[in-house]
């Protein structure tokens, strides 16, 4: 309920309400982008871009709908695009690159091997186990058949459990 009030306040120009919305959603948006891309600077750009998109579309946003899935759809799709592009082209991104250092978020956790997955598999694993969406919700977010989501989840988890 608080979120609806924040969105209404933001639509009416309240920066305080918009900041509450931002603070509530930034950590998970950024973390999801970082897990999918494996790149802190790209994650920052992607999560920031998602919030800028939110600003641009604020007036048209339906307050009855939850904000998070809308935001996460943008974040995860852009993160997949970014990761695919970098892989295909051996590409230098013009986000502020952070040299490869051990990621404290990943070290020692079950997600530590997520970088070994394809971007598509990373995305469903992150949506399911970090952002805690159901497979049905993930299918809707990524415009995928539910069976595809389930198989990607299964394969992703199998791969992460494999011995290195």
């Amino acid at each position: 309920m608080a979120e609806r009030a924040w969105i209404r306040g933001a639509q009416q120009g309240s920066v305080a309400d918009f900041e509450r919305l931002f603070r509530a959603h930034w950590p998970r948006a950024y973390r999801a982008a970082r897990l999918v891309t494996g790149d802190a600077a790209a994650a920052e750009d992607i999560a920031q871009e998602a919030f800028l998109a939110a600003v641009r579309n604020l007036d048209r946003f339906d307050r009855r709908r939850p904000f998070a899935p809308w935001l996460h759809r943008i974040v995860v799709n852009r993160a997949i695009d970014w990761t695919r592009a970098r892989k295909l082209r051996a590409e230098v991104e013009l986000g502020d690159h952070v040299p490869a250092v051990p990621d404290p978020e990943l070290d020692g956790s079950a997600l530590g091997r997520i970088a070994e997955l394809s971007p598509e598999h990373r995305a469903v694993v992150v949506l399911r186990y970090v952002l805690e969406y159901t497979p049905g919700e993930i299918a809707e977010l990524l415009d995928l058949p539910r069976g595809t989501v389930n198989s990607r989840l299964r394969r992703g988890l199998d791969r992460m459990r494999e011995e290195p």
Binding site: E19, E44, V55, L94, D96
Partner: protein, 372 residues
């Protein structure tokens, strides 16, 4: 999650909040308000884009847009050489020497140095002109819509490439042998520094062609995938950067893709290799301002932020010795010279190249700082 001033959340919040503020007042804002907002936000925006630790080299930016403690006039250039400044839309061409002396060469629409900086090739509407800066014009050639002249060669054997509507043409440095080379898009051609009389140009079909202009032999063709707006060689001629708004494709001397540099949220507006290196300086326009980043093409993965500020950066040009990068910053009415951690700015640039008709000059300097 860091909440410190340099953390990603705080950086993002500053940018997003600024966008929110602009949206909130959008229905009643005026141009004057926009200017005031830009001024007020300058420090915030600069802080937001420069905060990654160890990445930014930056001087203090005062609340009025621009580098603080800028020289009030262009007393000198920080490196040896001479600069041609094209003032677009009828402002003419200026010559600036390293001791600060400057002189208007004439009402030309464009100009470039000869390969050793002894002469200048310029254009007027429907005319190609070569001139000696001390003694005036040497020869002219009437050609409809001549533009973007580029001159290369040895001390005794040179060629000038230039564009006419829909085509690229070539003429010898003494004005003889003018001929159509090929159909071409309206992107300035670029002579290969590594091979004599060998020109890269963009076809109307958006393919880059490298061609020896005397024999007509095509060395390679490459479609970079989207339409480049500029072509820039490294000084050793082994790399060619084709810059499009969203990405720069760096081709090797054989036309193979050596590297792709892209941006998610910005627009790439300029690219220039640092002389003697494979470090590529890029100008990037973002919603929050502009940035200069440097990518080492040989060691990919690190795009180093060199400078950033509110508004628009236009042309960049390296000094001939590769030590200084000149950035034209029209929003601040400044030229900014960057050298490692050093930033030297010159204010009142519009007044330096004042026009009699009081139109605000729009300046071009890319590729026009020549010769030690």
């Amino acid at each position: 999650m860091s909440r410190g001033p340099s953390g990603p959340e705080e950086r993002a919040w500053e940018v997003v909040r600024r966008a929110f503020d602009e949206r909130a007042v959008a229905p009643r804002r005026s141009r004057r308000w926009l200017v005031a907002a830009a001024v007020a936000s300058a420090a915030v925006v600069v802080a937001a884009v420069l905060s990654p630790p160890g990445r930014a080299v930056f001087h203090r930016v005062r609340e009025a847009v621009g580098v603080e403690h800028a020289d009030v006039a262009l007393f000198s250039l920080p490196a040896p050489g001479r600069l041609l400044v094209v003032s677009e839309n009828g402002g003419g061409v200026w010559l600036v020497q390293d001791n600060g002396f400057k002189r208007k060469l004439g009402t030309y629409t464009d100009a470039e140095w000869s390969p050793h900086g002894l002469y200048v090739v310029a254009t007027r509407p429907n005319e190609l002109v070569t001139l000696d800066p001390e003694n005036g014009e040497r020869w002219t050639l009437a050609r409809r819509g001549a533009s973007q002249p580029r001159w290369e060669g040895t001390m005794t054997d040179t060629r000038i490439a230039y564009l006419t509507p829909g085509a690229v043409r070539v003429v010898a440095g003494d004005g003889t042998g003018d001929r159509l080379l090929a159909r071409a898009a309206r992107v300035p051609p670029a002579w290969s520094p590594g091979r004599l009389h060998t020109l890269a140009y963009l076809t109307p079909g958006k393919t880059i062609v490298l061609q020896q202009v005397d024999t007509g032999r095509v060395l390679w063709r490459r479609a970079p995938g989207n339409a480049p707006r500029s072509l820039a060689w490294s000084s050793d001629g082994t790399m060619l950067a084709a810059a499009a708004p969203r990405r720069v494709v760096v081709l090797s001397g054989t036309g193979a893709v050596a590297r792709v540099v892209s941006t998610l949220s910005g627009t790439i507006t300029g690219a220039a290799f640092e002389p003697g290196t494979h470090r590529l300086a890029l100008t990037i326009r973002r919603a929050s301002g502009s940035e200069i980043k440097v990518v080492d093409v040989d060691h990919p993965g690190a795009a180093r932020l060199l400078f950033a500020g509110p508004g628009t950066f236009r042309d960049i040009v390296w000094s001939p010795n590769g030590r200084w990068l000149l950035v034209d910053w029209p929003t601040a009415n400044q030229w900014v010279f960057l050298h490692g951690a050093r930033v030297h700015a010159v204010a009142n640039i519009r007044e330096e190249f004042h026009r009699r008709d009081d139109v605000v000059p729009s300046l071009r300097v890319a590729g026009r700082w020549c010769c030690r």
